[in-house]
């Protein structure tokens, strides 16, 4: 098992390196790094100084090593707009995005699993068919479209919830979070629901497929023969068995949820990393964009690693096979 963990960590480091190479090639080789990384308001002499400081007179491979060395030190340059370290800006916004993404994934699980259980247990029932048609819709609807509709219905027409900003936040472990106040929830609910819709559809499909497969198994037949209620069989016997793939895929989906938060944050003016990077693209604030991409790569690798480890913890068979 230690070997497997070690392997995964190595793979993760490899992915971060690949990402750094991709970002480096994108910014330094394809684009013109001077125009990308140097503040366009500087004059000619200042530009020459910056070019030398960035090492743009060196061959490409040395520039890459230079970039990597700076990356290791956590230095990706200063934002053109605020003139503070780009990485700091992103990290400052990260809790808001993580709060939104984690809430969305949890909503996806809490709503999706019961619906999926039912749809798998009674696949021919009309409610199940409605659920499945709904899940196709959930896959088809573009995120920003759903966001618009949610704002239109719940914020404008009905006026129940808020659609801009984070509301009142409380400090927790040095992070500002909305989940501790009622006002915060009133702001969090719509964007979280927006992001969750796709997850709900995904979880429903996964759970339903798992249940249908599990119901044909011997252990379910045996439990039935013992005279257990269907409710107990589903919740106590079937659910733990199908939870492993569901949790794995949902964990992986956390990465894409964080990526899609870019869209949701823009619509709901949620002050997270995604909103920051869109603003930075408009402001041509390249250091922030590069920092965002690198932090996302690290975040993805960390999440995948955690999911892999979680898999080992959840599935005893895997643990023992590797240990043997």
């Amino acid at each position: 098992m230690t070997l497997l963990v070690f392997q995964r960590v190595l793979q993760g480091i490899g992915v971060v390196f690949a990402m750094s190479l991709a970002v480096f090639l994108g910014v330094f080789a394809i684009g013109d790094p001077l125009s990308l990384l140097v503040n366009p308001t500087l004059n000619q002499a200042e530009i020459a100084v910056v070019a030398e400081r960035l090492g743009l007179d060196m061959p490409l491979w040395r520039q890459y090593l230079h970039f990597l060395a700076n990356l290791m030190r956590g230095d990706l340059g200063n934002s053109f707009v605020s003139n503070t370290p780009a990485i700091g800006l992103i990290l400052e916004r990260m809790p808001a995005t993580l709060e939104l993404a984690v809430t969305a994934v949890l909503v996806g699980l809490v709503v999706g699993i019961p619906l999926g259980l039912w749809a798998g247990y009674r696949p021919e029932h009309w409610t199940s068919k409605t659920i499945m048609t709904g899940s196709i819709l959930g896959f088809s609807l573009p995120t920003f479209w759903v966001g618009l509709m949610l704002i239109m219905i719940f914020a404008i027409e009905l006026g129940w919830l808020d659609s801009g900003g984070r509301g009142e936040t409380r400090d927790w472990l040095g992070m500002k979070l909305s989940v501790f106040t009622l006002d915060g929830w009133s702001h969090l609910l719509l964007p979280a629901a927006n992001l969750a819709l796709f997850k709900i559809s995904l979880v429903i499909r996964l759970t339903r497929a798992g249940v249908r497969e599990a119901l044909a198994q011997d252990y379910v037949r045996f439990a039935r023969a013992k005279g257990l209620t269907m409710r107990r069989i589903l919740v106590v016997h079937v659910l733990p068995n199908i939870l492993i793939p569901v949790v794995t895929v949902t964990g992986m989906e956390l990465s894409s949820t964080i990526a899609y938060a870019v869209v949701t944050e823009t619509i709901f003016s949620w002050p997270g990393m995604g909103k920051l990077v869109i603003d930075s693209i408009f402001a041509l604030d390249r250091p922030v964009i590069v920092a965002y991409l690198m932090i996302m790569a690290c975040l993805f690798v960390a999440i995948n690693l955690l999911v892999d480890l979680g898999y080992l913890v959840l599935d005893p068979r895997l643990r023992h096979r590797r240990a043997a």
């Binding site: 684009g31 196709i136 819709l137 896959f139 920003f144 870019v262 869209v263 693209i281 991409l293």
Partner: protein, 298 residues
């Protein structure tokens, strides 16, 4: 298709068409898609005005609600946007832009991805593995992020969006094709073709490729819908197409500014149009997947 169909002498594609239309939802999706495609193709002749021609637009007719009559007696069934564009015309042209760029980028990505996938399967060894590592790496990055990254690097505009969409999609095709081709490589017909000393190009493209087509058909359908959604998302964020040639995403973004003041129609109708197009394509894709997936067939 199935062995029974072959024995009864029915052409496989007839079987496929019959099976497709046996499902009402899929048939509905197909009809809807054909209707949208006709509107998109013939928009210059069908649309009540040319929404790109500024001389044609009447600013005093801007932001009219659905069902109102403009200053020159023109009736606006779905209302107008802030520039005074008839929303019906804007949506028809929007279909044209969205469908065109979605389909074109998907097909280009398919050409590249298929070639890479086939080559990786045929070459095999460390080189084939290395190619697939790149594909896997790319697939681990969400498409929206990849497209954003491309747009951030190269800027916006129709050719750049096209490029970003192709970059965001090609890896799906490579992964799919390579997976099937690896299996197909073991088949007798490939051994026979090799025994005949046919060149690798011929084996790849006239022997292997036709056998990879059914899954490719499914992937391309679903990817066109995904590309349309992605383009709409980028345009909505303001990073996509120029304002002079609005796609559906841009129409939505324009309307969004007016939504808070209760002018719902400017974003609602383009939104519904976009939704109908994506759902229609996905319904077709879903049915094709059910029909062509050998594993699901009894």
């Amino acid at each position: 298709m199935s062995a029974a169909a072959i024995q009864e002498g029915r052409a496989p594609w007839r079987e496929l068409v019959a099976g497709f239309f046996a499902d009402r939802l899929a048939a509905f999706g197909f009809v809807l898609f054909v209707a949208i495609a006709i509107l998109a193709l013939f928009a210059p002749w069908l649309a009540p005005q040319d929404p790109y021609d500024l001389a044609n637009l009447n600013l005093s007719d801007g932001r009219l609600p659905p069902g109102s009559t403009g200053s020159e007696g023109v009736f606006y069934f779905l209302g107008t946007d802030d520039q005074g564009r008839d929303l019906i015309a804007a949506i028809m042209y929007g279909f044209r832009v969205s469908l065109g760029i979605g389909a074109a980028s998907s097909l280009a990505a398919m050409a590249i991805g298929t070639t890479v996938g086939l080559a990786a399967a045929y070459i095999g060894g460390w080189l084939g593995d290395a190619i697939m590592r790149i594909v896997d790496f790319q697939l681990s990055i969400p498409a929206v992020l990849l497209a954003l990254m491309m747009v951030a690097l190269v800027g916006s505009g129709i050719d750049k969006i096209f490029f970003a969409l192709v970059v965001a999609q090609w890896a799906y095709y490579a992964r799919t094709v390579r997976g099937i081709a690896i299996v197909e490589m073991q088949a007798d017909y490939v051994a026979a073709a090799r025994g005949l000393c046919l060149g690798p190009m011929r084996i790849l493209f006239s022997h292997l490729l036709p056998n990879c087509l059914p899954p490719l058909l499914v992937v391309v359908t679903i990817q066109i819908a995904a590309a349309i959604a992605l383009e709409a998302t980028l345009s909505f964020l303001g990073l996509g197409l120029p304002i002079s040639e609005p796609s559906l995403g841009l129409l939505l973004a324009n309307g969004f500014q007016y939504m808070l003041s209760g002018r719902y129609w400017m974003s609602l109708f383009p939104g519904i149009a976009l939704l109908l197009m994506i759902v229609a394509i996905n319904l077709i894709g879903d049915r094709l997947r059910d029909l062509l997936n050998v594993r699901l067939q009894k």
